[in-house]
């Protein structure tokens, strides 16, 4: 009974915070609401005997993703000033999004209802974190390594994309001057002729 109540409370918070995250008009608050959602999720993890995941969730998401997002919000803040409105996270198209989402909810409810999940019983013993590590370094070692490449590529790419300006070379006004300075760039030098 207690468990059920607790679950209900967590679930309510989870869904409510999620709704707020997609509903609130202040972007900073939305990100914060997302943080609450993610944090609440870690409660679920604990209930599901996955403490490692819960920890990861709190650190990586709340610590990493959330701050990244807030960063993003700050960096793009100027827009709100230009638009002259403080609230800058309006929604639109709710009228057409709602039916779809409603149907999706219905579908999930139906699917869950029609699928016999009651036979599934919780595992007797909670797995140890070490086992997870073994898996990662075993079967999923390749995926893990690929993941590292992915993260590297994402970082490099993100930096190069988001960098304000190519300092010296692209600081010049006329791209043709640049091009002329580049012996390797035949394309541009030929065009001038």
């Amino acid at each position: 009974m207690m468990e059920r109540l607790f679950f209900g409370a967590v679930a309510t918070v989870l869904i409510f915070s999620a709704l707020m995250a997609v509903g609130t008009r202040n972007l900073v608050r939305a990100v914060l609401w997302l943080g609450l959602t993610l944090a609440t999720t870690s409660m679920f993890y604990i209930m599901l005997h996955a403490p490692f995941l819960a920890t990861l969730q709190l650190i990586l998401y709340t610590g990493g993703v959330l701050s990244l997002m807030l960063f993003g919000v700050m960096l793009t803040r100027r827009s709100t000033e230009q638009h002259g409105v403080e609230v800058h996270n309006e929604s639109n198209g709710q009228r057409r999004a709602l039916p779809i989402v409603a149907v999706a909810v219905g579908l999930i409810v139906t699917a869950v209802g029609r699928t016999d999940l009651s036979t599934a019983t919780p595992a007797a013993v909670s797995p140890e974190t070490r086992e997870i590590g073994q898996r990662i370094l075993g079967t999923h070692l390749l995926a893990f390594e690929v993941l590292s490449v992915l993260l590297l590529a994402a970082m490099v790419g993100a930096i190069v994309i988001a960098r304000r300006k190519d300092a010296s070379l692209e600081g010049k006004d006329d791209p043709r001057d640049r091009a002329a300075a580049l012996p390797g760039s035949r394309l541009s030098s030929e065009r001038e002729t």
């Binding site: 679930a11 599901l48 995941l53 969730q57 996270n89 999706a104 869950v112 999940l117 993941l147 970082m155």
Partner: protein
């Protein structure tokens, strides 16, 4: 609590995220919503892992989490780029390409 409760909650969360993607005008708002989608999947995975489907579920959660981080990084970079180009990040205003 039964497995179906978790799956249902995850489903709801997924739908909320979907709603967010469809409605948020702000690109970062959309990123937030995408997080909800992945989070919903994660809850599912953790629940299934707990309910006898094996540890791989939890491993999967690890990977998705990492992927999400990478995704957010890239997403934010793109948003910033968009902001540089257009001085705003409202998605419905970024419709120069169409037809």
């Amino acid at each position: 609590m039964g497995l179906e409760s978790y799956v249902l909650i995850a489903g709801f969360l997924f739908c909320v995220g979907l709603y967010g993607i469809l409605t948020r005008r702000n690109a970062i708002g959309v990123l937030v919503s995408v997080e909800l989608l992945v989070n919903a999947a994660n809850i599912n995975l953790a629940a299934f892992a707990h309910f006898g489907r094996g540890l791989d579920g939890q491993v999967f959660v690890l990977f998705t989490t990492a992927l999400t981080v990478a995704e957010v990084v890239v997403g934010l970079a793109l948003v910033i780029l968009l902001f540089r180009r257009r001085k705003d990040i409202l998605l419905d205003l970024a419709n120069g390409l169409k037809g």
